[in-house]
């Protein structure tokens, strides 16, 4: 599932023009590649959007996917994010069956996972959780026995991790030492 080695995260910077997402999606369809999840939103520069694609690499070599993607004129940059060197986040929204007798257990789970309660009804709760996709997976599995009324996940978004600061700071020689 999410995060396991056969998946790769591609962060694709594209020109913010109509039809670009369709171009990317139809390329995957036409060349027989499988998209595991996909998230798209504008970046800090309004000329560009970033598409985060998790691809199932068993269906085709990653190198070909990247090269074919890069042939799309509106694709500006593609980076493959190594999960070990990236920060990844995903959002889950779920409406869970919650009889009065089970409500406390569910609230406890939400508290442990640092999720949020968004709405409460007589026999259901709507909860949200933002976090690393693995954590979101765990949360989903823990909630499953109660019964989902509806479940929606966003697909992951990711950015490269910044260099670890501690090592750099230790190497600094300053007056304090």
């Amino acid at each position: 599932m999410n995060g396991s080695p056969q998946h790769h995260i591609l962060s694709v910077l594209v020109e913010n023009k109509s039809g670009v997402l369709a171009r990317v999606a139809s390329l995957f369809a036409r060349r027989g590649y499988n998209i595991f999840s996909l998230a798209v939103a504008p970046t800090e520069d309004e000329r560009f959007s970033r598409i985060t694609i998790v691809v199932d690499v068993e269906s085709a070599p990653l190198e070909q996917i990247v090269k074919q993607l890069f042939k799309i004129i509106s694709v500006v940059r593609i980076s493959e994010l190594d999960p070990r060197r990236a920060v990844e986040r995903e959002l889950l929204l779920a409406t869970v069956r919650a009889e009065a007798s089970q409500r406390t257990e569910i609230l406890e789970l939400v508290r442990i996972f640092e999720g949020k309660i968004l709405a409460v009804a007589a026999e259901a709760l709507t909860v949200s959780l933002e976090g690393h996709p693995d954590k979101v997976d765990d949360f989903e599995e823990m909630l499953r026995p109660y019964g989902f009324v509806e479940l929606q996940r966003t697909g992951r978004v990711a950015l490269p991790k910044l260099e670890r600061e501690a090592a750099r700071l230790r190497a600094l020689k300053g007056r304090a030492s």
Binding site: K67, F70, V75
Partner: protein
């Protein structure tokens, strides 16, 4: 200066140096046809939009300049899909302009509406729906830039009717701003050096030249490389003419219907120097057994071709001409500094042995029997000027034309290689003749192909474009018939077309051409001589050929190149 979108469109085409365009007007593109009356651009009115697309391709093939086709929305745009896909597969620079329903009507299933940009997305290098008149100059400038740079290809610009009618302040972009499009043209110096080193070390090298040589205008560079190193060259179907067939180092066409020497030389090579070629399945046969001992140097401007089919030992992304010139420079420097090229003499004598033992052959026909298509083509070849342009359709006649013609110059061979579009020949020949009116242009066509697009001969007659068409009429869909004979136990299913229906001579005459029928061997030469003398209108010569004739050699689909089937009477055991 205030212009309408339509005026801006035509002016933009003029700014791009367009001299001729092929098209057919209709409702949504109507506004763009008015300024054509005042333009320097010659417009050629076709009889079917597919014809416009193939004419633009033929024009681009022989001139190297982008072909331009302009048609209306809906059915006209869908009729253009085949030529767009054809140009995409064969990397032909082409700009297509389509009308679209007015912006307010888009998405409402309006009359003659279709999602042109959606439909053509996977068969164009790029396409765009232009939503304001101000954007037209930029869209056209970008279209020509994208179509002609990097790996060339077709670009489509879709323009709604109200955008053509709106007015705008004329402007012309000084440069293009495409942050995601920067083709690499210069090869990596370290890779180029490595390629030069491998070439000098190889004992059994073969140059595998593809259509990219022609796109990059690299024929002279290719010749320099071959002559400097004494390495044999195979020219793929898309590269015929890029290296002269009468050159001692030329082995001709490889692949499914390539000659035995070219196929076998690639199989036995220890180094393949792939230049602008893409390891197409028609060349490699079964990939797992293709050229098993060969290291690969792969030069291609499209990074996605590197490793797509066969992993190269030395990948070089760049323009074929620039990279080959760099390789030549490196080889010269290495030779000057004392490096000695490996001894290739044993290999060369093997290659010349194959060439002697396995020439292309066919059984000549007996008097009174049906004509041999190869004989017709040989006579045509020997009667045509050296720089004659040959255009073919798709099928047996295409393979025979490629095998038996002796190409001496680049840009003298035009055909549909990747997509294999039947009906390509007549319109593409018209486009080629428009691009090179000084040259004789012969279309070699089959009877099946001819029936698909023959109506464009009306265009040729009307516009005084005197092409010549040789129909090899074997009354069959010949290539399919050959497969049914060889692989389906001679169970012929839906391949018979009749030799007499249609009557090709009367049909040609009805379209304003001279029609000639040839039924016996002694008529072949006089008919060709007569056709070659006519220069004021199109000529159609129908050759009644032997239905049973097959194209050999042949590597059956899916099999290894080692399983090549030779012409009857040739002994494969001697291909060692």
């Amino acid at each position: 200066m205030q212009l309408t979108g339509a005026q801006a469109l035509i002016k933009s085409l003029e700014m791009e140096g367009v001299e001729v365009m092929f098209g057919l007007p209709g409702g949504c593109i109507l506004p763009a046809y008015d300024p054509i009356l005042d333009s320097s651009i010659r417009h050629i009115l076709v009889r079917h939009e597919q014809g416009a697309g193939h004419m633009a391709e033929g024009y681009a093939h022989v001139t190297g300049r982008p072909g331009v086709a302009m048609v209306t929305s809906g059915p006209a745009a869908t009729n253009l899909v085949t030529p767009l896909c054809d140009a995409y597969m064969d990397s032909i620079p082409m700009v297509a302009i389509t009308g679209q329903v007015p912006t307010a009507a888009i998405g409402t299933d309006a009359f003659q509406e279709c999602d042109t940009v959606g439909i053509t997305r996977s068969v164009t290098k790029h396409n765009e729906l232009v939503m304001t008149a101000e954007e037209i100059p930029r869209a056209i400038r970008e279209a020509f830039h994208i179509a002609t740079t990097g790996r060339p290809g077709p670009v489509l610009v879709d323009v709604p009717k109200d955008v053509l009618q709106a007015s705008m302040d004329w402007w012309w972009p000084e440069s293009v701003d495409l942050p995601g499009y920067k083709p690499t043209t210069k090869g990596h110096p370290r890779m180029v050096r490595e390629a030069a080193r491998m070439i000098l070390e190889s004992e059994r090298p073969v140059i595998y030249a593809g259509g990219g040589i022609l796109k990059a205008r690299a024929a002279d560079a290719l010749r320099d490389l071959a002559e400097l190193t004494g390495i044999h060259v195979v020219t793929t179907l898309m590269a015929r003419g890029s290296f002269p067939d009468d050159h001692p180092l030329c082995l001709g066409m490889p692949g499914m219907h390539g000659n035995a020497t070219a196929v076998t030389a690639m199989q036995k090579a220890d180094l393949l120097i792939a230049l602008g070629s893409r390891f197409d399945d028609r060349v490699t046969g079964k990939v797992a057994t293709f050229a098993p001992d060969a290291k690969i140097i792969h030069v291609d401007i499209d990074p996605a071709e590197q490793g797509k089919v066969r992993r190269p030992d030395v990948p070089i992304v760049g323009d074929c001409r620039l990279v080959i010139e760099e390789i030549v420079r490196n080889i010269k420097a290495m030779l000057d500094s004392g490096t000695v090229q490996a001894d290739t003499s044993a290999w060369k004598s093997r290659v010349s042995g194959w060439r002697e033992m396995f020439p292309l052959t066919y059984e000549p026909s007996d008097p009174g029997e049906a004509l041999k298509p190869q004989f017709c083509l040989e006579t045509l070849r020997d009667s045509a000027p050296e720089d004659c342009i040959v255009v073919s359709g798709v099928g047996q006649h295409q393979m025979w034309a490629s095998q038996y013609w002796k190409f001496r110059h680049p840009y003298t061979w035009v055909n549909s290689g990747g997509l294999g579009t039947m009906g390509f020949a007549v319109p593409a020949a018209i486009g080629a003749k428009v691009g090179r009116p000084d040259r004789m242009v012969w279309a070699v066509d089959g009877d099946g192909c001819f029936q698909m697009t023959a109506q464009e001969l009306v265009t040729a007659s009307t516009e005084r474009i005197p092409i010549k068409v040789a129909i090899l009429n074997n009354a069959y869909l010949g290539m399919v018939r050959q497969w049914q004979e060889m692989f389906y136990d001679e169970r012929y299913s839906e391949v018979y077309l009749s030799p007499d229906l249609p009557d090709y001579v009367r049909w040609a005459e009805a379209m304003g051409c001279i029609g000639i029928r040839v039924e016996s061997p002694e008529e072949v030469q006089p008919a060709i001589d007569k056709a070659n003398e006519i220069d004021d209108r199109p000529v159609v010569v129908e050759f009644r050929t032997d239905s049973g004739e097959k194209v050999f050699p042949m590597v059956p689909a899916g099999l290894s190149n080692d399983d090549i089937v030779l012409a009857p009477g040739q002994d494969k055991e001697r291909l060692r």
